[in-house]
């Protein structure tokens, strides 16, 4: 089928007498690097790519191929191309949780030592963790993301330190004012919530790419909080179908006092719900244990260089340029996506991008605990965790053993990649 398509394209190119914009590089001019990434609405990636192309002095030229907006659909398209050995992608915009899968399958090249030195300079350790597989750097982080606790200062004088405190406060405020917005639909957002609760409780889902951790006591503690919140009157009615967007809309509607969400909710409230925006303050992700710091989530995009790329040297040179400090600041400025370099948070531009909460974002990314992205079967793991805990209202805070066993069994199944999920 592919050969047929290539032949068709080739004959069309011949028929029209154009070779310059065909699948291969023209005889003259710099090689084209195709960057497969979703069309980030602010068009910040296009801007910095254009600049890098110019600065390369004719070494390469970056072009864009757009992937769908949804992360799972981006992955489907990339995987289909890479699984079939497609040579057209050079640079890949990868979600932070795909590193293990893509690296293990041999779809992306490990980052050469010289490039690694440049692109990991001043980068948060938590971010680099998402870019590594088996202690080797496989991708180049370009932007990060993290969740903060957003609360209303008119109803909550002091932000809650722990989840339990927050639920107590929400219950005291009552359902007309005290709702807590999180993400608990059966999707990746729920995996984020579960992972952060378990990490904040002092354990992890995995101990290695193919090794389970899930210590019983902390995991049950984490599940207990999830169960308590799900059954609390402070939980919104759409709790088991909640996503980032329903949480944002719920908070903007005014009956919520707390929300766990990414920083895009702040500018959104400014334009959608100015009254709510006036009262909106950010704090660090809540703790599970009063004595242990919380482990907030981490998201964002890392750039991978395709194993089938014909221009790997140019592609790595391009990643070095794309993640330069000035480009990260530009991305943050245009799109609101947080930089991956810690030193940039001292710059005035970043303080302007995150008015009043730049420090919270820095602290949040610094303490973040990545999801078990080192697993080469991360998708299995994600499905298994979602199935184990959803709907979260079924978790009985007074009898946590069944919920714990189900989670552990599902994770074991996913690690072995056995059975249906």
């Amino acid at each position: 089928m592919r050969r047929g398509a290539v032949t068709a394209v080739a004959s069309m190119a011949l028929a029209f007498g154009v070779g310059a914009c065909g699948g291969e590089d023209s005889a003259s001019g710099p090689p084209t690097l195709r960057w497969f990434i979703f069309n980030e609405p602010s068009a910040a990636p296009q801007k910095i790519a254009e600049r890098c192309s110019q600065q390369s002095g004719g070494r390469y030229r970056i072009e864009f191929e757009y992937l769908p907006a949804q992360a799972d659909q981006q992955r489907e398209q990339l995987v289909r191309r890479l699984g079939a050995g497609d040579t057209s992608p050079d640079l890949l915009g990868l979600d932070v949780v795909w590193t293990g899968e893509f690296a293990n399958a041999g779809w992306i090249r490990p980052v050469p030592a010289a490039t690694e030195k440049v692109v990991s300079e001043n980068v948060f350790e938590s971010v680099l963790q998402t870019a590594r597989f088996k202690q080797r750097l496989y991708t180049v982080p370009i932007w990060s993301n993290t969740q903060l606790l957003w609360y209303r200062k008119d109803r909550v004088p002091q932000p809650p330190k722990t989840w339990d405190e927050m639920i107590d406060m929400g219950e005291k405020l009552g359902p007309a004012k005290g709702r807590i917005q999180v993400q608990a639909n059966r999707y990746e957002g729920l995996v984020v919530l579960v992972n952060q609760l378990i990490e904040s409780a002092g354990s992890s889902i995995l101990a290695g790419p193919k090794q389970i951790k899930l210590d019983k006591a902390p995991t049950e503690r984490a599940l207990g909080i999830l169960g308590r919140l799900s059954r609390s009157p402070a939980a919104p009615p759409n709790f088991t179908t909640s996503t980032e967007d329903t949480a944002r809309l719920g908070f903007e509607a005014g009956d919520s006092s707390f929300m766990i969400n990414y920083s895009y909710v702040y500018p959104s409230a400014k334009s959608n719900a100015p009254d709510v925006f006036e009262q909106m303050v950010a704090a660090k992700y809540p703790q599970v244990d009063p004595d242990k710091p919380s482990r907030p989530p981490i998201g964002g995009i890392n750039i991978g260089v395709s194993a089938y790329s014909k221009h790997p040297a140019e592609a790595f040179a391009a990643t070095e340029c794309l993640v330069k400090a000035e480009n990260q600041i530009e991305v943050a400025d245009l799109s609101g996506l947080p930089p991956v370099r810690e030193d940039l948070y001292d710059r005035p531009e970043i303080a302007k991008t995150y008015p009043g909460y730049a420090e919270e974002i820095r602290a949040s990314i610094k303490d973040a605990a990545p999801r078990p992205s080192e697993s080469p079967a991360y998708q299995d793991l994600s499905l298994a965790i979602q199935r184990a805990v959803h709907p979260t209202t079924k978790i009985d805070p007074r009898n946590l053993a069944p919920a714990y066993e189900k989670l552990r069994d599902n994770v074991l199944k996913a690690i072995k990649r056995e059975g249906l999920l």
Partner: protein, 317 residues
């Protein structure tokens, strides 16, 4: 059911008249032409349906995962064992059957009513028919999103209707989620059912009704004694098509719940294994099982109820 004896009689008559063995040159040439005319369609079918089906069967007896290319091996029926011993498969099979039976039953009743309206409409016939067919012209995914947004508590209008709690989470529990999914399916495909039944109604001779009226049969009797029996072939074909379609339900569930709240269908199960997990072996096994179940349904309809497929003379005699 009388088709078989008729066919036999015809064949016997042909044999008596010389049989295919001694067909004239003209017949041979015609037959050759017929084969040649069919050939492109057959080749196309072989390429686009038979090849993928066979390939799926080949994949389903292997351990094969796109993410672990070096681990591929032949595993016989292991994948099928994994499918049939899975609790998930049983739940999803039940869900699929439930959606199929309930939605097709509602569609049948509604479709029949609409077909009668379209058939009997005295004025504005074209308008009535067009209006009824509109939902069928809408892409399923788009229709699913429309229903999803209508019932979603944060964007929908349904919760602001009287008698419905303002904060009802329609996709938050199994029964309500199923209700909305089935409603969307029914809304979307009832016109298809109505259209097929209307075609059946059009074939019924009006003289029969006149005669029945003269004999003093009331409307109910005319419906039960004339319309229903004569509509049976069209009815069964409509049921068969809709059942096969409903059994592969995917779009509505995928859009509305992604299979959460235990609303997952077999198609979504296959999708998860194939597309999300890239586990081609397990996913193909699910697909093959789904294919065999669909074949079984078609077989039961054709053999058990004597449904005529289009192009053959069925039980119309």
């Amino acid at each position: 059911m009388t088709a078989v004896p008729v066919g036999r009689k015809e064949r016997a008559a042909k044999r008596a008249a010389g049989g295919p063995g001694r067909a004239s040159d003209k017949t041979k040439a015609e037959r050759k032409l017929a084969y040649m005319l069919c050939a492109p369609a057959v080749v196309a079918m072989l390429l686009v349906t038979v090849y993928p089906i066979l390939y799926a069967i080949v994949l389903s007896v292997q351990k094969i995962d796109l993410r672990f290319p070096e681990e591929s091996e032949f595993v016989g029926l292991d994948n099928y064992v994994a499918v049939f011993t899975s609790e998930l498969f049983r739940i999803d099979l039940f869900n699929t059957v439930l959606i199929t039976v309930v939605s097709v039953a509602i569609e049948l009743v509604l479709g029949m009513a609409l077909a009668l309206v379209m058939h009997k409409a005295l004025f504005g016939r074209g308008l009535v028919r067009t209006a009824i067919l509109v939902p069928y012209g809408i892409v399923t995914v788009v229709a699913a999103f429309a229903w999803f947004f209508a019932f979603d508590p944060s964007s929908g209008f349904v919760n602001s209707l009287p008698l419905i709690a303002d904060d009802k989470a329609w996709f938050g529990d199994r029964a309500n989620a199923f209700a909305v999914i089935i409603l969307a399916e029914v809304w979307k495909t009832t016109p298809f059912m109505a259209l097929l039944l209307l075609a059946g109604l059009a074939t019924i001779d009006d003289g029969l009704y006149e005669a029945a009226k003269v004999d003093g049969a009331n409307a109910v009797q005319r419906f039960l004694r004339i319309t229903l029996p004569l509509l049976k072939p069209a009815l069964l074909v409509a049921l068969l098509f809709r059942t096969l379609d409903a059994f592969r339900v995917f779009d509505s569930i995928f859009v509305m719940t992604r299979g959460s709240q235990d609303t997952e269908s077999l198609s979504i199960l296959g999708f998860n294994q194939l597309i999300s997990r890239l586990n081609l072996g397990l996913g193909s096994a699910v697909s093959v099982v789904l294919f065999v179940l669909v074949l079984l349904i078609a077989f039961v309809f054709v053999r058990g109820f004597g449904t005529a497929t289009p192009g053959t003379q069925g039980a119309t005699n």
